[in-house]
């Protein structure tokens, strides 16, 4: 901990007993007007997005975009190949024949949409992110096990070491820790 002095305060990490107290704390912090805060839990907690005042995920739109690229790309590729790049008459089948495009158009739509879902999710979450000041906290390892945490960044306009600590204490935090970066 000797490096604490030459590092800046990044925020305050509060640990809570269970999902319910975390949910109430998130509600209190959100109602107090904080924006730069986050909650951490080993699994998604139902209703916490409302308590934190989060908007709906935009992922659906990304997936839609990718899916349309897949669909249009697949149909374009097949029509172009079958009609101009390499028109081959095989067993008298018509060259431009919508039913034969269905399987591949469907598969490529699904493929591109899945890319959209996975990479879009990582993009929206800002992952991969190998370094995170929270990883400096030994206690934070519990966030992937059985710990429930709320973190308020010092960059938040309302942040003050004393007031923020008091707010978290009032919300039944069981453990408070300053995070330096």
């Amino acid at each position: 901990m000797e490096t604490k002095e030459n590092k800046q305060l990044h925020g305050i990490l509060a640990e809570f007993q269970n999902p319910a107290t975390l949910l109430h704390a998130a509600e209190a912090v959100n109602n107090a007007g904080y924006n730069k805060f986050d909650t951490f839990s080993p699994f998604p907690i139902h209703g916490i997005e409302k308590a934190m005042g989060l908007k709906k995920s935009k992922l659906g739109w990304i997936v839609l975009g990718f899916g349309l690229v897949g669909l249009i790309g697949a149909v374009w590729l097949m029509v172009w190949v079958m009609s101009s790049a390499m028109p081959l008459s095989i067993s008298g089948k018509p060259l431009i024949d919508p039913p034969i495009y269905v399987p591949i158009a469907f598969e490529l739509t699904v493929l591109l949409s899945s890319f959209g879902a996975v990479f879009g999710m990582l993009f929206l979450n800002g992952l991969p992110k190998p370094y995170n000041p929270l990883f400096n906290s030994e206690n934070f390892n519990k966030a992937s096990d059985d710990g429930f945490f709320l973190y308020i960044e010092s960059e938040d306009a309302l942040f003050s070491e004393y007031k923020t600590t008091e707010l978290l204490k009032d919300a039944e935090a069981v453990n408070l820790e300053k995070i330096y970066d």
Partner: protein
């Protein structure tokens, strides 16, 4: 309305009064613990079989397709049977991870992770066969629309090409789905393992996951969308596999019942494989609290339902061949029953029609040994189903003068055995290094994961951590 309802109380998904921490320890410590001796023995055997596969495929490439038992008219043999069989097995994994997710069947969390792993490895085994079947594996990239100096493009009106797209999409999407599910659990292992090297590798693949609820929001959305995409995908894959046959005009193949019939069969054999693997791994790794007998029973019911759908399809095949009035259809069905491959037909009837009926008995559904036995027969039966469809239909085609009896060669036998080496090598590595149960999903399914659990009014009798909650709506609505 003054009726009182009471939902049937479901037994708790996780038994043995587990907490979040004990679930993490139960699953997350497996890669840290000493590996059971049996693992090394199994891994050694699997490696030898994998070596056998590599040797036989090399021999095939060196000598040419003639080393397989293919003849004229049976131009497709064991290779295509094995392909369809392995792909079919894979389908259970996607069904468990995607379809059961959309239906909110929370019991899936106990088995979805390794069922998905099974899917990926099964599809790898499947993909080998058609790839080598083309004869010149070194130009296999011709099946993809890759621009080349010959100005050559694939024929998009061929069902075989649709299959290339279906199976490669299926493999890619299954892999992505599996990996997305793994991210939070890899973070759990990253925070848990002691050695620096493991920490580095788990950390690298966990991508810096923190469990932030801002992230969980997008994550859950992604998971839901992937499940929604994988559901029609899994149905489309075996549909397109069945198109390989049903779009042609061979009697016994040219039939519209093939897509649903193939999908039902795929799920039947896939569940049989998942249940067999589950029975073995729950014992070895002591996961009886998570992979409970109740879950095994539910899987057995799905096996029974899909098995009966398959049995119904056989009935319809017979009926339609008579009803079509087409002599070749009637002829081929009659040849299945009493022809040169009748022995295969009767094995199939036993394994796929009589065998699933044992699951009507609760005693059988809840008995580990009997389930294992029934599941093994189901897998054998589904292999024979593809054998009958592919070989029996081709070998006795239109002209009796061109009929020939197909028999596999030693290369066919050993290549099939070798794919088990490929499958189990990967599967055992997965059991050794990755969390075999979706830790975060199991935790999310515990009663204490719900914030309402902590409100005192809601604490009904028996909800002491892992008990069941009986929902009783008011008497008058």
């Amino acid at each position: 309305m003054s009726k009182s309802y009471e939902f049937v109380p479901e037994p708790p998904l996780v038994q043995g009064n587990h907490t979040f921490g004990s679930i993490t320890a139960l699953i997350g410590d497996i890669p840290e613990r000493e590996t059971p001796k049996g693992w090394y023995i199994a891994f050694g055997v699997a490696n030898l079989l994998l070596l056998l596969l590599v040797a036989l495929l090399s021999y095939l490439v060196w000598e040419g397709l003639g080393v397989w038992g293919l003849n004229n008219p049976a131009g497709w043999g064991w290779a295509i049977i094995n392909f369809v069989w392995w792909v079919g097995i894979g389908h259970a994994g996607t069904l468990i991870s995607a379809i059961l997710f959309l239906f909110r069947q929370h019991w899936r969390t106990a088995i979805n992770r390794f069922a998905e792993a099974m899917t990926i490895f099964a599809v790898m085994c499947a993909g080998l066969f058609p790839a080598f079947h083309v004869g010149r594996i070194w130009v296999i990239y011709w099946v993809f629309p890759v621009p080349n100096q010959m100005g050559m493009w694939p024929n998009f009106s061929s069902p075989l090409l649709w299959d290339v797209f279906a199976v490669s999409t299926y493999f890619t999407v299954s892999l992505l789905f599996w990996y997305v599910g793994l991210i939070p659990d890899l973070a759990t292992l990253r925070d848990r393992v002691k050695s620096k090297t493991s920490r580095f590798f788990y950390g690298m693949f966990a991508l810096g996951w923190t469990g932030s609820n801002r992230h969980w929001l997008n994550y859950e959305k992604a998971y839901m969308i992937l499940a929604g995409l994988a559901t029609p995908l899994v149905l489309s894959v075996h549909t397109i596999v069945s198109f390989d046959m049903s779009v042609s005009n061979v009697p016994g193949w040219h039939s519209t019942i093939f897509p649903p019939y193939f999908v039902a069969g795929a799920i039947y054999s896939g569940f049989a494989m998942v249940v067999s693997l589950m029975i073995i791994s729950r014992k070895i790794y002591g996961l009886e609290d998570i992979m409970t007998v109740d879950i095994m029973e539910k899987m057995n019911i799905i096996m029974m339902v899909t098995g009966n759908m398959v049995a119904f399809s056989y009935l319809m095949e017979g009926f339609m061949s008579w009803y079509s009035g087409y002599i070749y259809e009637r002829g081929i069905f009659w040849l299945y029953v009493v022809g040169p491959y009748a022995w295969g037909f009767w094995i199939l009837m036993f394994c796929n029609v009589i065998n699933p009926q044992f699951m009507w008995f609760k005693k059988v559904r809840r008995s580990v040994t009997l389930t294992f036995l029934v599941a093994t027969f189901a897998n054998i039966g589904m292999w024979y189903e593809r054998f009958m469809i592919i070989v029996a239909s081709l070998a006795t085609d239109f002209m009796p003068s061109s009929w020939a009896y197909y028999s596999p060669t030693w290369v066919d036998y050993l290549t099939y055995v070798g794919t088990f080496g490929l499958f189990f090598t990967f599967f055992l590595l997965f059991l050794r290094f990755l969390p075999m149960v979706a830790i975060s999903e199991v935790k999310a399914g515990l009663p204490q994961a719900d914030p309402h659990y902590y409100e005192e009014d809601d604490q009904l009798e028996g909800s002491n951590g892992a008990g069941s909650i009986v929902i009783q709506p008011n008497e008058s609505v």
